[in-house]
């Protein structure tokens, strides 16, 4: 069982998010997101490992006890999480004969979104959630994070997720210059979604795309005669896996390359995440690439 599968088994999304982020933040020294501004909130007893920069030396002189200053981080950034709920996201390798307990693309996107929400919220920034039938405006605070994670965890896939509308709504509801996370397989209404993303970028938002794909979609490991049932349209295609593979791989590579180049052209943050890699590794890769900017 891979780490990703272990995480997928944990029902509590908040716990999952914390596990993912805790493993992550310990290695990152600086907040990965912009807009860091803090005002003092309280003292906390010094614990080994705390940055000595925040030790209140005057207090030490007065009381002989070592305290560090804690700051409440004031919000100056808002992030919106857009999660694809289309039926194609419900694909998991176990449904097509892969290893049992494999993570579905949607579950993976949920975990990733939860981790991002946690990351943003613990920084004191506002985070919101936008999906087809759900809208949580960006807010700060633990309560809001709980509500967001709860809403995220009860989301279900199915039907058309009205990708372009959802992206537009998310972009419009981010009042200031914000951060727009989109977690999707980007199968639906490609051009319209891209147009909306570009519009969001023009509005001053930073657009971050997580292209969630499964290993099966990318490598097409079918050699026998297979009947594929489209998860979205229900259509059936009976093909010989061996014969269909080459054209499929060509098409899928072109599709991925198209999104990568579009994202590059518009200066979107683009990450292709594959569901059989641990989500924290995917997140770490994304955050590191962000720091390099």
């Amino acid at each position: 069982m891979t780490e990703g599968e272990v995480l997928a088994r944990i029902a509590d999304l908040e716990l999952v998010a914390r596990i993912v982020v805790d493993g992550l933040v310990s290695g990152l020294h600086r907040s990965p997101f912009h807009g860091y501004s803090a005002e003092f909130s309280q003292y906390r007893r010094y614990r080994p490992g705390d940055d000595l920069k925040y030790v209140d030396w005057k207090l030490v002189a007065r009381t002989d006890r070592v305290y560090t200053k804690q700051f409440r981080e004031t919000t100056n950034m808002a992030a919106a999480l857009v999660v694809d709920t289309s039926a194609s996201m419900s694909f998991s390798a176990s449904a097509s004969g892969g290893s049992a307990g494999a993570v579905s693309k949607f579950r993976y996107a949920q975990i990733l979104a939860a981790a991002l929400a946690h990351l943003v919220a613990t920084q004191g920034d506002a985070v919101g959630l936008v999906a087809r039938d759900r809208f949580l405006p960006p807010r700060t605070g633990r309560q809001h994070l709980r509500a967001l994670l709860a809403a995220l965890s009860v989301m279900k896939t199915g039907g058309d997720w009205q990708a372009a509308d959802v992206v537009r709504r998310a972009a419009e509801r981010l009042r200031r210059r914000g951060l727009l996370f989109v977690l999707s397989d980007f199968y639906d209404a490609e051009d319209r979604v891209f147009a909306e993303l570009r519009r969001a970028a023009r509005m001053g938002h930073e657009v971050v795309l997580f292209h969630v794909m499964s290993r099966e979609e990318i490598e097409f490991p079918y050699a026998r005669d297979v009947e594929f049932a489209d998860l979205e349209t229900g259509g059936i295609a009976a093909v010989n896996g061996r014969e269909a593979r080459r054209p499929y791989l060509d098409a899928v590579t072109a599709f991925l390359e198209r999104w990568r180049s579009r994202a590059g052209a518009e200066a979107f943050q683009y990450s292709l995440v594959i569901t059989d890699t641990p989500p924290d590794a995917a997140l770490r890769r994304f955050l590191l690439s962000r720091r390099e900017k």
């Binding site: 194609s88 996201m89 694909f91 449904a95 097509s96 004969g97 693309k105 397989d185 199968y187 499964s214 979609e217 490598e219 490991p221 079918y222 050699a223 026998r224 005669d225 297979v226 009947e227 594929f228 049932a229 489209d230 998860l231 979205e232 349209t233 259509g235 059936i236 295609a237 009976a238 093909v239 010989n240 061996r242 014969e243 269909a244 593979r245 080459r246 054209p247 499929y248 098409a251 899928v252 599709f255």
Partner: protein, 401 residues
């Protein structure tokens, strides 16, 4: 087409296996949910149909391989006109000569059953003495077997046969039988022998009794005689065939039975009424009159009637005849079966019957094995061709695997 081992055809049931595999394998084109079909080229759908057709051809070839193998095991024999002509060109003949013709014909039928393929004919060579053949002897011969009767010689007008000698009151007389169209038995002059003194024996011998074979003795003991106690005590179960035959002959003797009916005497010694003694004659009112047993290798009859009674004499005659030589002299027959029934029974051999497994010199199983091998090669070719055609990307397949 004939099959030498038709039982092997049961294996044709194995043809169901590839069909079942074919059907099951078709079903195994499992349905897999997939996120989107937009990259699965619809142009490739037609290839599936082509596959089905190819698979059907492959299935047919595989079925043919199996069928050829099964038929080969079953020992096929193609009855070609040439082969049939070859079989019909030769005749397998069994000759019955002398001895018991009826048993000989039965043997010949069996022999011909296992003869190599060909027409069947039984030739009977004999002088055909009368009674040596009957329509019942012809019945077991199958209808397509030919029958031919060859008379080896005409029978002599007469022949003289030695018969068992006969005892008379003046001694033993040799006998000869001259057999011709009317049979007569001639007795020679009596050979000197001590004249029996007993009046009873004299009376019996006057009835012409067969002379006993060497080593055989028979006695009749009257109840009043002093010997009764001894023979009763030493009687043993019958072990000699001639004594058993004799006891049966005595019990069957019509003269003895008629005379016994009028005799009032009866055996009252209980020992004489149970094993090893066998009651051979019953007196008036059905009471036992005489019992027989084997005593020291001799046939002994104990009779309740007095020694001078008629029934005692008749019992003695029957016992003596039992010890005599009763062989039948069939070969002495000079009358023969006339030609007309023999001609009636004669028939030409029919076409060669279907050959039996053991008798076929050469069957066609190798052709079927060759066919199976050729089909196997075709099947292999079809499979590789199919694989080449459907991509020829083994390297890539290996990488995926």
């Amino acid at each position: 087409m004939l099959f030498l081992f038709p039982a092997a055809l049961v294996a044709l049931a194995a043809l169901a296996a590839p069909i079942a595999i074919h059907i099951l394998a078709k079903r195994r084109a499992e349905r897999i949910p997939f996120p989107t079909l937009r990259f699965v080229q619809p142009g490739r759908l037609a290839s599936v149909r082509r596959h089905v057709l190819e698979d059907l051809a492959l299935l047919a070839v595989r079925l043919l391989i199996l069928a050829a193998a099964v038929l080969a095991v079953a020992g096929p024999l193609l009855v070609t006109p040439q082969r049939r002509a070859m079989w019909n060109a030769r005749t397998q003949t069994a000759v019955v000569e002398g001895g018991d013709l009826s048993a000989g014909i039965k043997h010949a039928v069996l022999d011909l059953l296992f003869a190599p393929p060909g027409r069947r004919e039984i030739v009977v060579r004999s002088i055909f003495p009368i009674g040596s053949l009957s329509p019942n002897d012809i019945l077991p011969v199958p209808g397509d077997y030919g029958l031919r009767f060859e008379r080896t010689a005409s029978s002599p007008a007469s022949r003289t046969v030695a018969l068992a000698p006969v005892l008379t009151d003046s001694g033993e007389r040799p006998r000869t039988m001259t057999v011709d169209r009317g049979t007569t038995v001639q007795e020679g002059a009596a050979v000197g022998r001590a004249s029996p003194s007993d009046a009873l024996i004299a009376a019996v011998l006057s009835q012409r009794v067969l002379a006993p074979v060497n080593g055989r003795t028979a006695r009749v003991v009257s109840v009043g005689s002093a010997d009764v106690e001894r023979v009763t005590a030493s009687a043993s179960p019958i072990r000699d065939a001639w004594i058993a035959d004799g006891v049966a002959a005595i019990a069957r003797d019509r003269d003895v039975r008629a005379a016994a009916k009028t005799t009032t005497a009866a055996l009252d010694d209980a020992r004489l009424l149970r094993s090893p003694w066998i009651v051979v004659a019953g007196g008036a009112a059905g009471r036992p009159l005489a019992s027989a047993a084997s005593v020291g290798g001799s046939l002994i009859v104990v009779c309740a009637a007095p020694a001078d009674a008629l029934v005692s004499a008749l019992l003695l005659r029957a016992a003596m005849n039992a010890a005599g030589d009763r062989r039948v002299r069939a070969e002495a027959e000079v009358l023969t079966i006339p030609d007309s029934p023999l001609q009636e029974w004669t028939r030409r051999p029919g076409p060669a019957p279907p050959p039996r497994v053991e008798t076929v010199e050469q069957d066609d199983r190798r052709w079927f094995w060759i066919a199976a091998l050729v089909l196997l090669a075709i099947e292999w070719r079809m499979r590789t061709w199919q694989r080449d055609f459907s991509g020829g990307r083994e390297q890539e397949d290996a990488r995926v695997a």
